[in-house]
Amino acid sequence: MNIPALETHDLTVTYHKRPVLYGVDVAIPEGNLVGIIGPNGAGKSTFIKSIMGVVPSSGGWVKIFGKPLKESLHRVGYVPQRESVDWDFPVTVMDVALMGTYGRLGLFRRPGKKERMIASESLDKLGMLPYANRQIGNLSGGQQQRVFLARALAQDSDLYLMDEPFAGVDAATEAAIIKLLQEMRENGKTVIVVHHDLQSAQEYFDMLLLLNMRLVAFGETKDIFTQELLHKTYGGRLTVLSEIAEKAAKQGKDVQP
């Protein structure tokens, strides 16, 4: 069997002695587009942050392509939540895209022509090249997210961990992002995405990981996206589910008037 792109064993994270993530065991095979789904406060962001070592884990281990994180850092790209950075920061769109090349450059080498080329190409792919010299604060939410993804693209990793890339973006950007993610998968990359919208989860992802402090289920979307498992993930929050059901019903009506 192939080595999984990402494997965690008994991954546990605690904040102030309270567990937020508990004993997550999962092996994600290479070349998939995976959605992480769960209610608010289920530890979805914490899960990918602890994989990247951004948040310290208090137990368990993580392997990326069969090796500990330190040895495979250059093969993983992390895309934090858009709100996690200060968009008033005095950098341009180009500066942010160039950050994608920092990992490859090591600590002190400066980005040169080649790195600028890579950054420009990545920006171009997301339609952000015309904005290259803009300060990042002058962008819309969707454009900011595109810049983040361009930066990830410039990293040229084999495994991507993305924290809510679809949060607060316009429909055009959402379509552009999903197209990009699918393209990445076609190129053999593994993309793991924290996602908050159940409805689109079903159509976007090949595989789903249901999380609510513990791993509820992981597998092919068609096997996982069941009433029973979703209920198990979201627990008593029936409202969430009934909302989805309602939305689905409405859509059904729209389709067949």
Binding site: M52, G53, Y78, F89, P90, V91, M99, Y102, G137
Partner: protein
Amino acid sequence: MVDLRKEQQVINMVEWIERPFILGAEDVFYLVMMAFFVALPCSQLGAFLVLRRMSLVGDAISHSVLPGIVVAFLFTEDLSSPWLLVGASGAGLLVTFMIEMIHSKTRVKQDAAIGIAFTSLFAIGVILVSVYASKVHIDADCVVYGKLVSILDHDSVTMLGYDVPKPLVTSAIVAILTMLTVIVCYRILLLSSFDPGMAASIGYRPRIVHYALMAVLSMVVVTSFQAVGAILVIALLIIPAASAYLCSHRLKVMLLLSGVHALISSVMGLYLYVWMDCSFAAAMVVAGSILFLFAWFFGPADGIIIKAFHRRSISLGND
């Protein structure tokens, strides 16, 4: 007739420009250079403090280096000893660590943690100064306001035929080292300030960067201590950076403008000092604040005027 008046104006101006030189050309040069070498590294590190929203941590460090200096002095009995730098950096790191511990291990938030940590250390410093007052020649006024002009009374080192005051040499070395550090570590500082999450994910260790920045900051603060004191050094950290922040949307330009701000406020400070016969450090800070007001009104990035202009052009565009 007109020409004569003009000539008189020119003479007046030249006189005004020359006025500080009654102190002696060399001394004037040393004072401005001292002011600049103190303000320059402060302005560069201050830029990162402002961007990391850590201005208050700069405040904390500037106060808590005091006990470090006193303890180091009690051991070495020499105010110009390099051990003072070590003592100060130790105290600076200690306060950083205390802040981190208080706010990560308890429910007390960071601003309160800062308030607890640095005042405690500063108070210990004050006690040490008064207990060892006979041994420590640090007077309270100097701690609070600094005394830049006192560099002229110091021992000097002969360099290229000039008798350069020792503190000026120390400050110049610290300024150059700080500039080199900022230039060499530019990308590390940039990414770990902008996006600590991504910085950590590519192996930059933001915590180590944080502590390293605090250590360098403590060293810079302690070399500026004698010149500008514990309170005014905060102004040198924050005002140039904040002014530059209003003038540019690019970090490199912001750093450059912070340095320019440091230079102009040093020169302006000298004139104000000669004119008002006041504390040089205070004069320099007032000059810096005036520059900040300028940036606030006329700043090309965020100034009031440019904003009003944009608003107008937008509303015109809508018509």
